[in-house]
Assembly symmetry: C2
Amino acid sequence: MRPSTPSGALVVDPNGSLTDVEGISVGHHQRIGRGWRSGTTAIITIDGATAGVDVRGGGPGTRETDLLRPENLVQQVNGICLTGGSAYGLAAAHGVMRWLEAAGSGFSVGPQSESIVPIVPAAVIFDLGRGGNFANRPTEDFGWRAAAAARPRPEVNGTVGAGTGAVAGGLQGGLGSASVRLEHGIVVAALAVVNASGSVIDRATGLPWEPTAHALRRPKAWERAELLDAISPPTTATAQPLNTTIGVVATSARLTKAECTRFAAVSHDGMARAIRPVHSMFDGDTVFSLATGVDELPEATAGGFRTEGSRPAAINEILEAAALCFAAACTQAVLSAHSIGGPPSYRDLCPSVFRA
Amino acid sequence: MRPSTPSGALVVDPNGSLTDVEGISVGHHQRIGRGWRSGTTAIITIDGATAGVDVRGGGPGTRETDLLRPENLVQQVNGICLTGGSAYGLAAAHGVMRWLEAAGSGFSVGPQSESIVPIVPAAVIFDLGRGGNFANRPTEDFGWRAAAAARPRPEVNGTVGAGTGAVAGGLQGGLGSASVRLEHGIVVAALAVVNASGSVIDRATGLPWEPTAHALRRPKAWERAELLDAISPPTTATAQPLNTTIGVVATSARLTKAECTRFAAVSHDGMARAIRPVHSMFDGDTVFSLATGVDELPEATAGGFRTEGSRPAAINEILEAAALCFAAACTQAVLSAHSIGGPPSYRDLCPSVFRA
């Protein structure tokens, strides 16, 4: 199955990575076992990237999001921290900051080169107690280690980093990514950590709501029976009240901070398509956006907005790609997760889906 | 096909209406022919309803939306005006106001019973020139007539009211509605006017992206060929740069103004599922929400938020229903439209889809 779009033009690579956008590195650190099941993911843009955010869940846990409003001073971030540990996990962002400080990357606040403040917005998922010990949650050290592990090559998907303790609609959740290359070489990519109260899997078919470019077979009848058994009944939203899908979309295009806000906003359309229901009172759904600025877009005034090559038309392509990539990343997060002693994974329950 | 949800619980009635929420009346006025193809829809809540809004498109045309922010004074609206005519069409809202003033419905601003200001937020779609004459657009008179035509029984769907001049992804657009009754009798309903640059129809199947409760057959091969021909190629976004999906979700529950804001917000998830792509720079996508307050929800403090019967859990049900209803209303808008001399309608191109 290939994802079809109304335009028929954009085909997302579900094996793509956020690091397909040059200048972005991704690193993970996690602990599993001995009372632990949580982790942290650091997205590093050591040379800075223009950024935005859209918080659309009813129970968010975030830091440095006010700074991202278009009217505020700072234009670029040096990293994004996604982490388990609920609000406690925000401490991990300090570790990412400290690593960036040591690397000399930050907002300059004085004449000395060391006078910098690294800008690291962060968002958390709720995974407290899932490893058995409520007190085991990502610390500053997790953030440092995730940042130190960051590499400019495809990150691992699945049960890793901030996705380690994730649960998605009764299944093991995780971390997924996807990317697409637009005409003119502009890259758009997404990374999602899915810990949703809603489900990525359609109960009617046993397959993801959103098609992926992977060829998937329908699950066998006995697989589907086990799957339906695992997928949360409606009461789970109250039995496990805190959830959240968080993530990052990135592009190689040069966007303004205000445009980054819209870029983050439209990514939530992908979340809405891939996870149902979503944006509930018990989800802290938050997406950050990054624009590295390598690829220039047309000037805002070039040719008026009606023309084919206008700036709004170019931004529309990026927005459509953002929604498609974020949906694919959400689906990929659940398809690539494996069970680590918590809920079953989709892959464990429905192995025949993946058989070519 | 019945819409399946992760919970398997909610089944939307695509023949449902916004007027299934008691206290809400809907009326239309439109002109077709002699250079005209536009109209106005008035949603009347003569006894007032708590309201919210979420504007998520890049090119909105609205009035009285700042008033709807939770922190602002006025808590209730007396009507909502949806209209063609782009920003010129906002004049129609004045006609709705004048009709409400005559009916004695408004925000009290003095000791005399006539000292009222009717509160009528409004949003517009772009349909200028579609009837042949750029100067023909809804006026104050359209608003008055739509309000005067408002009835508390199912409104007509299709090519009517604000949906008259609508075009959706190369097909005749229109106005659609849907409703669902939750446990405990709470009603949630939606009305959508679809004039989107994106498509409600999946090119891969020739069927809507979102399943409807109507039994639909796959279009015949020749129908599908004509359909694909009609559905806009990617360049249409620039050839017809201004579009917009607008609508209203309503519930019989008593919500605060802040809760109405979230109610409107999550409705956009339904828009994201039913129309692809959506929320572009060329769409002014806006959803208003109304809560008539007939059905009480649990107090915010009742039993803590983890319990089954908590207020957030009750609100979550309304949010999920809002997304489902709004998606169904968007789909219904295009399925029920008929061509009036502009682009072909889905119904005209694919009649066999509807054959039982």
